[in-house]
Amino acid sequence: MFSQASHNSRLTPVEPVAGSTELLARISELVGGLSPDKVDLLKAFHRIQHEFGYVPREAVPLLAGKFRTTPAIIYGTIDFYSEVRLAPSAETTVEWCSGPACLLKGSLNIRRALEAILDCEMNRTSADGKFGLRLVQCDGTCHLAPLVRHEGRYIGPLTVSESIEWARRLKGEDGRASTQDRGAGAEEEPPEAERLVETE
């Protein structure tokens, strides 16, 4: 049982493989000063991801050497955490909150609409590589539910129609591409009452 805690089997450090020397040099620089058994691996991921937007594959063997473990364990760890990514994000990534408050207020409808407009499934990138949808966890900004985030901005509370219009502007289909926020608390004019039209 205790063997669990003595974790990473100490193997011979693995030599870095593929990748440009500059990239590897930069990664080494970023993780310089970090060492095994000092709660530093998460720090390494964050530093690398902060710099590149993702963890390049070339970093895996390098980290394995640094943390005296195998590339498989490093890869497995990266794969385990949903916020550590192995591929760069799309040019424009829309983050969709999956939390319960958003769900109860109809976020699934918004998800379906966004997937249709951006032509992209959740956690995937559209065929042209321009748009990405990412599922994110609730961070307790539930007064804006249902919400989406874009470039660090929170947009909500959204109706499905608003989200569609917003996504179309983002895509540039409907006039100029714009990421204009609906200002918080902005009062919108109530629409005129719907009039039924008699049909035969």
């Binding site: 049982m1 205790f2 669990q4 805690a5 003595s6 974790h7 990473n8 095994p36 058994d37 709660v39 530093d40 691996l41 998460l42 720090k43 991921f45 964050h46 943390f67 760890t77 385990f80 955490y81 949903s82 916020e83 550590v84 999956s98 939390g99 319960p100 408050a101 769900l103 109860l104 207020k105 109809g106 699934l108 409808n109 918004i110 379906r112 609409a113 249709a116 407009i117 966890q137 609730c138 961070d139 307790g140 900004t141 539930c142 007064h143 804006l144 539910a145 929170y154 499905v160 129609s161 569609i164 219009e165 200002g183 918080a184 608390g185 719907e194 009039r195 039924l196 039209v197 049909t199």
Partner: protein, 621 residues
């Protein structure tokens, strides 16, 4: 030795705090926390600073934390010398110039939404903050500094009694500190409700060194955000709690593990630890005593099971955050196989209060069996989303219906989910049970960490259970078959039911899966079916309606509803325009919905609510 040093520190801090507590010129406080940042509080603060500078007002602008009124943010408090502060709600950057103008003229800004007067006396036609529905009945102990002090200024914390508890603890023996905790009756606030004093004693009695003290700030439960608010509005409280914990358990180092989704709490906790270190409150020979304690903030990377105590340990050990098998318990072999103790943020933050005011004072609040106060966050179908602190044992309905305002106008409460996706739900008929673990446990529900999520009659219980099972499946670490495969089968069955292909045998299968899930190693697997089990217990009729009659009463389950044009209206062109899949089509002047194209996103009905109706897919006339 410790006391004179502290006195000196307190005196300096008091001088700094006096400028805020008894301002000689107009003081403007802006609450900046995660919840207010997303509605533009940072812009408000920036514009306030530049306007005050440009127009040469003799005002002081100060940053503060969040008082928990998320629904009214961004909040700005204006304090005139010798007068109670006035709290304005929804002060976005564009409202700043007129607010400043009114303040300069010495009045209450009429065109702004003044919410209340700080304190307990009404004045100038405004209610006292303590008397507004959201605040009445709250007891703010943990949150005493939230929205009051500057979270980035340690002096504010010290001047308001901070680190007094530490000084008192350092004057006692570690066992005495533990005894005081046991006397208070504090139990873990993370969900398991185990005695904190007892847990600390286990670590104290462990022989090997070094020992570690870990704070679980991986508040992964979606819909819970109480720990976040404490860490970003009063980070020093947690620092002090951890130091006292370190002293009482003879620990050498503390880790505060904060989830990746909380960048601001990470920032503020790091700053708080650094400030405490500069004052000699963290590090070698704390306050001149022979006690030394190191503290480090660790940022997670987005994994829910790292919020399980042993999962967190694995994560700290540079590995996948997979929960370990117990025993050995963390007090025997925790992080790096050394004795460790893990507590929730709220458990640690209660400790300074107990040490400062004594166990008797602390235990005055709360119910017979469960002492103290507890923070809760309200979200979902509730009018006032926010964070509140009430004595344990307060009726749930009081918090949800009165303070939170209940569901939006015209809707009925359906259920309350008390804390996290693994906690289960209670029905509206049980809403008056006290907020403490036992009454919930009797109903097969866990009170959890305090994230109350409210459902109303527009929500479908099957839909919610699908969400919970999806979450449990998605976040399963993959160790136990009953968890990673069990939740997946459960999810498949529930999705089948919601798509109209449910069969009666499914109900037995779900119960079977729920039973075998108990064999999972950690609470994630064991708790995964809780919500589904409470659906069986409290909402069986609704479930049977889905299975037998293929009907979703709330008209949410996608496979059981269909959109149809029922009337002709002048809004149908708008519905046609909004449809993302061109499913609203016009044939010879009449509109209809192409069912093959329709993704059931509800946008067309939003545009033409009278003309387009949601009908049962398998309607029986």
């Amino acid at each position: 030795m410790t006391l004179p040093r502290y006195k000196e520190m307190w005196q300096q801090a008091e001088d700094v705090w006096a400028r805020t507590a008894r301002p000689v010129r107009t003081l403007i406080k802006v609450g900046v926390a995660t919840c207010s940042r997303v509605v533009g509080a940072e812009e408000t603060l920036q514009v306030l600073r530049s306007e005050v500078h440009e127009r040469a007002f003799d005002f002081e602008v100060m940053l503060t934390g969040c008082p928990g009124l998320c629904y009214a943010e961004p909040l700005v408090e204006v304090v005139q010398p010798n007068a109670p502060g006035i709290l304005y709600q929804r002060v976005t950057a564009d409202k700043v110039p007129s607010l400043l103008q009114a303040v300069a003229e010495g009045g209450i800004a009429q065109d702004q939404q003044a919410l209340a007067v700080m304190g307990d006396q009404e004045s100038g036609g405004l209610p006292a903050l303590k008397s507004i529905e959201f605040m009445r009945g709250q007891v703010r102990r943990l949150m005493a500094n939230c929205g009051v002090t500057d979270p980035e200024n340690i002096d504010h914390y010290i001047a308001r009694g901070g680190y007094e508890g530490l000084v008192r603890a350092l004057g006692m023996k570690p066992v005495e500190v533990i005894d005081e905790l046991k006397k208070s009756g504090l139990w873990g606030r993370g969900g398991a409700a185990f005695s904190t004093g007892l847990k600390w004693e286990f670590l104290y009695n462990a022989k090997r060194k070094p020992k570690y003290l870990i704070c679980n700030a991986d508040e992964g439960d979606p819909g819970s955000f109480v720990n976040r608010n404490l860490m970003e509005s009063d980070p020093q409280l947690l620092v002090e709690g951890m130091i006292i914990g370190g002293y009482a358990t003879d620990a050498d180092k503390g880790f505060i593990y904060i989830r990746d989704e909380y960048p601001l709490p990470v920032e503020r906790m790091e700053l708080a630890v650094q400030q405490a270190r500069e004052r000699g409150l963290v590090g070698e020979n704390i306050l001149g005593s022979d006690f030394s304690f190191e503290l480090e903030v660790v940022r997670g990377a987005g994994s829910y099971v790292c919020g399980d105590e042993t999962g967190l340990l694995s994560s700290l050990e540079d590995r996948r955050g997979m929960p370990k098998i117990k025993p050995p318990f963390p007090a025997q072999a925790g992080v790096f196989a050394m004795p460790s103790n893990i507590n929730n943020v709220e458990s640690y933050t209660n400790v300074p209060l107990i040490m400062r005011h004594g166990a008797e004072w602390w235990a005055e609040m709360g119910s017979e069996k469960h002492k103290g106060t507890k923070m809760f966050s309200l979200s979902g179908q509730v009018q006032r989303v926010g964070i509140l602190e009430v004595p344990l044992g307060t009726p749930t309905g009081e918090v949800v219906m009165r303070m939170g305002g209940g569901p939006p106008e015209g809707r009925k409460l359906k259920a309350v989910q008390p804390g996290g996706p693994l906690s289960g739900v209670i029905p509206a008929s049980d809403v008056d049970i006290p907020l403490e673990p036992d009454p919930y446990r009797e109903r097969g529900v866990l009170m959890g960490s305090g994230g109350l999520v409210i459902l109303d009659d527009t929500n479908c219980i099957v839909d919610l259970c699908i969400y919970f099972e999806w979450f449990a499946e998605d976040e399963s670490c993959g160790r136990c078959t009953t968890c990673f495969a069990g939740t997946r089968r459960m999810l498949e069955i529930l999705r089948r039911i919601s798509s109209g292909r449910g069969r009666l045998a499914d109900l037995e299968l779900i119960k079977l899966l729920g039973n075998i899930a108990q064999n999972a190693n950690c609470f994630h697997g064991q708790g995964a079916p809780t919500a589904v089990m409470s659906m069986f217990r409290f909402f069986e009729d609704e479930l049977l309606e889905h299975v037998e009659r293929k009907r979703c009463p709330a008209k949410v389950c996608r496979g059981l509803v269909r959109y149809e044009v029922r009337h002709h209206s002048d809004r149908l062109p708008a519905a046609e325009a909004i449809c993302p899949t061109n499913a609203v089509v016009r044939d010879n002047g009449a509109y209809r919905i192409d069912q093959l194209k329709c993704i059931k996103c509800d946008a067309c009905r939003e545009q033409a609510p009278y003309a387009i109706a949601v009908v049962d897919e398998f309607a029986t006339a």
